[in-house]
Symmetry: C2
Subunit: 476 residues, 2 copies
């Protein structure tokens, strides 16, 4: 493709993205297509000869837009947000254009050093201990961008595993019943579980009535494992669980580790809620995080940075390297051997890596820390208002404290009514919520609607609309 064509199409597609953002509210938030509908619109084979861009661009409208669930729709309250901003997309564009590889410092110094610096900036902004920064005394700390929090969790478990020279079957890892599924998946990958239901080495610790890990239950589990000759190596505490944004008592968990299994690794999963530490008034949620061995916070959920951009810090770089470093001859180079550089391939699962710090750098500079705080605070305020309406409504019941912008609630009438409510609300095509279940305290499970606020275009009007649809859809 020649430069003029690229310029012309590039401008056209930048405009397409801008218009998409402007009109996304008019589209059904959840794709209305059925399984196979998209496939049926696509040819069976690739074109042998070049096609015209008019055909490609028209297929973008004909096939892709109706087949997409619009995560950037202001009525998207499902799962967690994956918000996207102009500066971030511009960063992705530049990164793609440069097309550099960052597996080694040597293969693109700016990619490595900007990433290190931007992660140090974020560690400061989040109030993390200096031990997590690359300039920590002893040089054992530092941050890295992982593709996803799942990968960060896996990396932390592998680093933890590398501290212990005992047979795998003796190792034990701990997470709460509400911990993200990636913890169990990491254990499956790392050879500590054969499937999601294999609890021989993965201990799922019970939670309290606010869905927080119970530290005394953790202590008991560790103690009983140790008495049986097993070795506790890794504990995950979550600040903002996926189901309800519960906040595990990190300090108490760290106390348990200190007394019961001082060699175990404490990983703190702040994938969604971690960015709230930018705001001093929310930093109390993160008490104890400084005692962790690693922390993950996603910029790609609620911090205006498009996926993927998962921020991971550890204070124990040596364990990461022991778990993940391998240097074949074709990657040897003077910079690595000097010991004066970071080679991020040794901090992650894959070898290759994109220039992901570019988009976060653009976001931080365009909004400034103050702009990011304002962005988060508006969603916190909207969630507070919504929660108050739920609390005041006789047909609804809130099922968890609101620490973030996620509100979890149910129909008081019961699970069937709650499920029907969710379906009716989503059928509107104007808003989209998803669900989870939580223990009902009587041995059963509550079906729970989740309203997660965090869209770039989401305003009070959209939360009002969601509320109106909920009230109108509630069985009387």
């Amino acid at each position: 493709m020649d430069a003029e064509t690229f310029r012309a199409l590039g401008h056209q597609l930048v405009d397409w993205v801008a218009e998409y953002w402007e009109r996304v509210e008019s589209l059904p938030v959840r794709s209305e297509l059925a399984p196979g509908d998209v496939s049926a619109m696509l040819p069976e084979s690739a074109p042998e000869e070049p096609e015209d861009w008019s055909a490609i661009l028209s297929d973008l409208e004909r096939v892709i837009v109706p087949g997409t669930t619009h995560w950037q729709h202001p009525g998207f309250f499902a799962y967690f947000p994956a918000n996207v901003s102009g500066p971030s997309v511009l960063g992705e564009l530049v990164s793609a254009g440069l097309g550099a590889q960052g597996m080694l410092w040597q293969t693109s110094p700016a990619m490595t050093e900007l990433e290190t610096r931007v992660l140090d900036w974020m560690a400061q902004l989040l109030g993390l201990s200096p031990a997590f920064r690359s300039d920590a005394p002893g040089g054992m700390g530092g941050g890295v961008i992982q593709g996803t929090a799942s990968e960060a969790t896996l990396v932390s478990m592998l680093a933890a595993r590398s501290r212990h020279d005992v047979p795998l079957a003796k190792l034990r890892v701990y997470a709460s019943e509400q911990t993200h599924s990636s913890a169990v998946k990491a254990a499956m990958i790392a050879g500590l579980a054969t499937g999601p239901d294999d609890d021989r080495q993965v201990r799922q610790i019970p939670v309290d009535e606010q869905f927080r890990m119970r530290p005394e239950a953790l202590a008991a589990a560790i103690r009983s494992d140790r008495e049986a000759g097993a070795v506790p190596i890794w504990v995950c505490a979550t600040v903002g669980t996926t189901g309800t944004c519960a906040v595990d008592p990190v300090s108490a968990v760290a106390d348990v580790i200190a007394s019961e299994a001082p060699d175990a690794w404490l990983h703190v999963d702040g994938a969604f809620a971690g960015v709230l530490a930018l705001c001093p008034e929310h930093r109390h949620l993160f008490e104890g995080v400084d005692r962790a061995d690693s922390v993950v916070v996603n910029a790609h959920k609620w911090l205006l940075t498009n996926f993927d951009c998962s921020l991971f810090w550890s204070r124990d770089r040596a364990s990461l390297l022991r778990a993940l470093s391998i240097t074949p001859e074709y990657l040897r180079n003077a910079a690595t051997e000097s010991g004066s550089v970071i080679d991020y391939r040794d901090w992650q699962i894959p070898l290759g890596r994109r220039f992901r710090s570019m988009k976060l750098w653009f976001v931080l500079r365009h909004y400034g820390a103050s702009g990011l705080r304002t962005f988060l605070r508006q969603h916190i305020a909207l969630a507070g208002d919504f929660a108050a309406r739920v609390d005041a409504h006789p047909g609804l019941e809130r099922v968890a404290p609101v620490h973030t912008s996620l509100v979890c609630f149910r129909a008081v009438e019961g699970n069937e009514a709650s499920r029907a409510l969710l379906e009716a609300v989503n059928a509107s095509g104007e808003v989209y919520l998803t669900h989870t279940t939580v223990p009902d305290g009587r041995g059963g499970q509550h079906f729970v609607l989740r309203l997660a606020i965090g869209g770039v275009r989401t305003t009070a009007a959209h939360v009002d609309l969601a509320w109106a649809r909920i009230v109108a859809s509630l069985r009387r």
Copy 2:
């Protein structure tokens, strides 16, 4: 950022990328900065208030361009290419703008179904067995885009592991001494090795004088492991090794597996060279690949699609799901439960995923299959010419057959002269080559220069320039 600002900056950055590609040849291909130079140009803390875009764009020139090793430079002959094209960058832009998540079919149907279709297209174009396609009888085949070949290799090993209900310590995996380091790294992650030098469960099979895995050595290793009570689960054969682009005898390896360990998984790593199967005249390199359980081919190396876009097919979807599937309540949905859709989260390590098929779709439609073949053939021709010059030069010696666009050679004078040659050539800043080592047949290692051709802007003139620098730098 409002729509008008995004449009204006977007146009400006599209133009910046176009200009970058136009001027990249005038920049030193390898960054000339020393460790710490980029950091020194960056502030210690993030800005509290928004900055102006003039400052951001000027830092792109001041900090990023000089700190980048220019993988898109036409004189970049290092490692393997990671080429980038206009259509691919446009696809990345649209994908970032949509900002959708493809972890489940439900979370964005078009992302899943386009990916499945484009992988079926590619399977056809590469001449892979229909068993690898999503429409294979029995529904057990299919393709997925992984971030990297490293991840594909890990996923295949985990799928292989899930076929066997025996203690991990009994499992054995096999790769040649020339297999990519990601195989050993995968074993480390999967709990089959504690480090790169732990050969208790990872067998590195010797190679022949063309650096191909020796099937009789594989057979002997498997036999001896089985006699000792171990269980062979996974074998990697490579079509185009990283060091020298050696081609393992896939058919013979498959024969060994069939007779010695029929339950073992055969993974074929065609990360770099696999795309050559697009051209009928090169398809002989892939003989036997149809007998594999999985295959990986990177679109992001030599197929005009920017990183990351690693194409992975398996004929045993059930093992992938057994190894990687886990469904917490918050991800349950009717489409998944109907069994009529693919949820790609179960085919990969992470949960979240980008719309990576978009860029490959754009590339396939813009160039057509014929255009991609032409692109590959020009590099093959350039490599053939270069190899002939090496062969004709009395001071140089080619060390491996040229099956692809990689030429491996050394100074006949020896390793010290070869190393000096590499350094002198790279010092020019006009071309960039890297090295590897290979067994010299006498118990030592040859230091080898690698010239890998595959840049979008690389022409005969650039290969001529590389040749001129090599000849001029060769010690007399």
